[in-house]
């Protein structure tokens, strides 16, 4: 891996952690976008590791307090999103257009991955408070809806422009 790529990954990692810890409305976050983007551009493992690292740091330093038993679930959830970025890139192949269809694809994928993340973290909540998983899902559904809508919007609007910018930074050819 060349220096430029390492520098960009480091910037993305600090941006990701910073954005996760910054004050923001509950469940509106750009962490999943950055992890997915990292996985997409630098491989599934990089995305998964960044997701795990971000949630590990956030688990201790979050303005909402120490995450406790939910932290491992957050780590797994965000790692899944980062990993999915790499898998998606593999599915797309090297040459792909960045038309409305791909924007829609990313938005739909964001919706699905966000739900997976919410199910995983709600599972942690269910264990912590000893409640049924279905009850935990029902109780937190409005948070999940906000999370889903914000991620759909963010992925649909920002994913491809950011990919283009980062590809230019690392000197990779953009095929759109």
């Amino acid at each position: 891996m060349d220096c430029r790529r390492i520098a960009v990954i480091s910037i993305l990692a600090s941006l990701c952690v910073g954005a996760q810890l910054a004050p923001r409305p509950p469940n509106v976050e750009s962490t999943s976008l950055i992890c997915f983007l990292t996985g997409f551009l630098f491989g599934a493992l990089s995305g998964a590791l960044l997701g795990a690292l971000t949630m590990f740091v956030s688990g201790f330093l979050s303005p909402y307090g120490f995450a406790g038993i939910i932290m491992p679930f957050q780590i797994v959830g965000m790692a899944v999103i980062g990993f999915a970025g790499g898998v998606y890139r593999k599915l797309l192949g090297r040459n792909f257009p960045a038309g409305w269809q791909l924007r829609l694809e990313v938005s739909f994928l964001a919706s699905f991955l966000t739900l997976i993340y919410d199910v995983i973290t709600n599972f942690g909540y269910a264990i912590q408070f000893n409640v049924n998983l279905i009850v935990a899902l029902f109780t937190g559904v409005w948070f999940a809806v906000v999370h889903n809508i914000s991620n759909i919007t963010l992925f649909g609007g920002a994913f491809f422009p950011l990919t283009k910018i980062i590809c230019n930074l690392v000197g990779e050819k953009w095929h759109a």
Binding site: L92, E105, L109, S111, I134, V145, N148
Partner: protein
């Protein structure tokens, strides 16, 4: 359409359906909880229907059906459950006089009068609203009007 696109779209729709199901579940759970509470206090509450008639003010009539209040509640307290009421207590009559309901104030000729639905017709209330204790299933009305005894 590419197979990949189709699969991703299906996953997205599946996520939306699951979320919609969870929203429905959330409301169903709340409904069940409230029903349980209602069942618990069944012997302590009653239901009544109340109408607020603003016809003389802006032509509207608003009904509040199946309003739940505790047993022994008087009409003034019950009205305060469904509307913003301004009233003055008159010690001389040992009763309250309603000045305004939902911001519609009495004036020199118009007042808030209350009625009971008895024998298929409206009858004037026999006393002040705070002296009248409601019965289960009763139908009542507040009307903004020039009282017919004027």
């Amino acid at each position: 359409m590419h197979k990949r696109t189709l699969v991703i779209f299906c996953l997205g729709w599946l996520a939306s359906l699951i979320l919609a199901g969870c929203v429905a579940g959330y409301y169903y759970m709340n409904f069940q909880n409230l029903n349980q509470i209602l069942e618990k206090y069944k012997g302590c509450v009653m239901r009544f229907n109340i109408c607020i008639d603003y016809k003389e003010w802006n032509g509207t009539v608003v009904w509040y059906n199946d309003t739940i209040v505790p047993f022994g509640c008087n009409l003034l307290e019950a009205t305060e459950k469904v509307a913003t009421v301004n009233s003055t207590y008159w010690p001389a009559y040992q009763a309250s006089f309603v000045n305004a309901i939902n911001g519609v104030w009495k004036d020199n000729s118009y007042f808030w009068m209350w009625y009971r639905w008895i024998n298929d017709r409206w009858e004037y209330g026999p006393c002040g609203a705070d002296l009248y204790i409601l019965s289960d299933g009763e139908i009542l009305m507040w009307r903004y009007e020039i009282p017919n005894y004027f």
